[in-house]
């Protein structure tokens, strides 16, 4: 059945995120603003103030307190939403590890922005990758529509008794946060059926019944079992994602899988990408195909748990694969590259060529020429990588700036 009432609005990714929280009928939003996330909490603040949303919106003193408040509120049995970005999410990182260990369901949006130093406002994924090992489920959005849909899916995953974990939905700053495109808003009543009010299965904090949770465990043995349990719960999220996504597709007509294949069937060269730049990748695939190059794209949507089998099934049988990381681990390279490589290692029919590519840092554009260059480097068997994308004009410009900053004839 497809939703009866269709209401399409031109929304920014930030507004779509706010709509996601509104349609999910969240009870509590602890907030702290940061560019490029501010529009989300600003919008929610207004909706709570007007009475459009019922519940409590609180401005916190920092992201650290914000995540602590979010986790505590979720432990009291209410539905919680929050959002951050970049330096902000890093400031609260300690609490992310902590609240995921509390096994409390909530949804948080990260609006990706490159990390200092140097400081910038535009996106890359080093911020969200820093939260990779917090034991929080992660979904990465490509379009404003996906932002809204993934938030609704995220609540179902978070609150599922097999999971009970925070879920993070990642959206790129600027390229999604401030970009307006048509977004179909699902009917509120339909959403209520898909996502009924949160009914916790575990005992919750109540003032009348004091209890202790998350106390210290020394000695390592019990600690390890907590961590193993956490790992298993996170793994469960993949199956739960598939179940709820199927239900969502049947109800609202938009179908999501843990990975998305774009023109992969006969592809010789495959780009692996995630988030909003995947749209650029799809455009490049179309253009390369017009030039007779059989290109395809695999988009990562569910990033934690890492859908090992889905990734391997999609990539095996293809000759050449380039993993484009919009992040950099200095001294190691791209962060998702080794994850893809390890997903493929045990498969006999794994791609013959696997290339690590780094690009789009701090929102630097990835252009058609870059994709062509990736295809060419896939054929250079001796090139080990990672391939760092840049254009000569930009390097010349950068050198000019260096000269202005400190004229030094000797420097290269």
């Amino acid at each position: 059945m497809v939703a009866t009432k269709i209401n399409t609005k031109m929304l920014t990714g930030n507004k779509a995120a706010a709509w996601g929280a509104r349609l999910a009928d969240v009870d509590y939003v602890p907030a702290f603003p940061i560019t490029p996330q501010t529009e989300i909490v600003e919008t929610l603040a207004q909706w709570f103030a007007e009475g459009t949303m019922q519940g409590k919106f609180t401005n916190m003193d920092s992201e650290h307190s914000m995540f602590a408040a979010a986790g505590s509120a979720a432990a009291s049995g209410v539905r919680v939403f929050t959002a951050s970005s970049s330096q902000g999410i890093l400031y609260g990182l300690e609490m992310l590890h902590t609240i995921s260990g509390w096994r409390v369901p909530l949804v948080l949006v990260n609006v990706s922005r490159g990390l200092a130093t140097p400081i910038t406002l535009e996106p890359d994924h080093n911020d969200v990758m820093a939260t990779r090992d917090t034991g929080i489920v992660q979904l990465h959005a490509e379009t404003c529509q996906e932002v809204l849909d993934l938030i609704l899916l995220a609540y179902r995953i978070a609150e599922d008794p097999r999971v009970l974990l925070p879920v993070l939905v990642n959206i790129d700053g600027f390229y999604l946060s401030f970009t307006r495109e048509p977004v179909e808003l699902p009917d509120e009543n339909e959403v209520r059926v898909f996502l009924p009010a949160f009914k916790p299965v575990q005992p919750v904090f109540q003032a009348s019944q004091p209890q202790a949770r998350a106390s210290a465990v020394l000695g390592g043995v019990n600690y390890s079992f907590f961590k193993y349990q956490h790992h298993l719960a996170t793994l469960h999220a993949e199956r739960v994602f598939m179940e709820v996504a199927r239900e969502y597709g049947a109800r609202f007509g938009r179908h999501y899988e843990s990975v998305e294949r774009y023109k992969m069937d006969d592809a010789d060269s495959v780009f692996v990408m995630s988030n909003s730049f995947a749209t650029k990748g799809k455009a490049a695939v179309n253009k390369l195909r017009k030039q007779g190059i059989k290109a395809g794209l695999l988009k990562l949507r569910l990033f934690r748990p890492f859908p090992v089998d889905a990734v391997a099934d999609a990539l095996c049988g293809h000759q050449k694969v380039a993993v484009i990381d919009q992040n950099i681990a200095p001294g190691a390279g791209g962060i998702t590259f080794p994850e893809i490589a390890s997903a493929l290692y045990h498969r006999e029919d794994r791609p013959k060529r696997l290339l690590s590519v780094i690009g789009g840092l701090g929102g630097m554009d990835i252009r058609d020429g870059d994709f062509l260059s990736i295809v060419e480097h896939l054929d250079e068997k001796d090139f080990k990588g990672p391939l760092m994308l840049f254009r000569k004009e930009d390097l010349d410009g950068f050198r000019t700036l260096q000269k202005i900053a400190g004229p030094d004839e000797e420097r290269e």
Binding site: T35, F174, Y175, F178, R180, E181, S276, A283, D365
Partner: protein
């Protein structure tokens, strides 16, 4: 045959370059076209360079972010050119052949070299005194962005006036809701909404007048993009 128009708006913080892009994209969507808009800015402060981009087409748009090769460039403030307050220098870099440049100015701001380079690309330049028009009709220079929108639509017909009106109402028009409080409060709210309705009308008048002026200019100057999307609206 019209497939896609890429519009780059260069302005200064506070002029509504981002809002203008949003309204254009919304209007295009109302006309049944595909559209996507996004801004680029650094520090969010008045008079700092601010850019925005709109892509409007008849096919799904697999493109986002900075617009490097625009068909239409709108310059909202003379300082974009005279003081190079712009992320792209010169302001017309990347402009496509047969393109269109609309500048908010009463005087010619381009050098001989600029003119030559634009002529070589068959790019038409429309000097449009948008701020003057905004002050005359809207009574505030804050309507400059409306005058620029009207000009873009008047030359290219990329969006209809009806769709612009609809977009304006959707973005700024709010239906009056009784506060449920005291009568005095309700009265204050009614007044506020009445003022808003007047502002909306002034903005739409600015757009319409600008549209007409641009249409007239277009008939004489015959830019390559004149009426490029005139017959496309709702045709698919």
């Amino acid at each position: 045959m019209f497939k896609r128009i890429n519009i780059r708006i260069s302005g200064l913080g506070g002029q509504g370059a981002v809002t203008a892009a949003h309204l254009l994209a919304m209007a295009a969507n109302r006309d049944g076209k595909y559209s996507i808009s996004n801004p680029f800015f650094g520090a969010e402060k008045r008079m700092a360079p601010a850019e925005s981009y709109v892509r409007i087409g008849v096919e799904r748009i697999y493109d986002r972010g900075e617009l490097v090769y625009p068909d239409v460039i709108m310059v909202f403030h003379p300082q974009v050119i005279t003081m190079q307050k712009s992320y792209t220098a010169p302001f017309y870099s990347g402009v496509k052949e047969d393109g269109l440049v609309i500048i908010n100015t009463s005087a010619d701001l381009l050098t001989k070299e600029d003119h030559k380079r634009l002529e070589d690309l068959n790019v038409s330049v429309f000097n449009h005194d948008a701020t003057k028009l905004a002050l005359e009709i809207g009574g505030t220079e804050l309507s400059t962005n409306m005058a620029m929108l009207g000009a873009c639509a008047g030359v290219t017909k990329i969006v209809s006036l009806e769709a612009l009106d609809g977009a304006l109402q959707e973005r700024f028009g709010k239906r009056y809701v009784a506060s449920g409080g005291t009568a005095t409060l309700d009265q204050a709210i009614t007044k506020k909404y009445a003022k808003k309705a007047m502002l909306l009308k002034a903005n739409m008048d600015t757009i319409t007048k600008s549209y007409e002026l641009a249409d007239t200019w277009s008939e004489e100057a015959k830019p390559a993009l004149a009426n490029v999307a005139a017959d496309v609206a709702r045709s698919f």
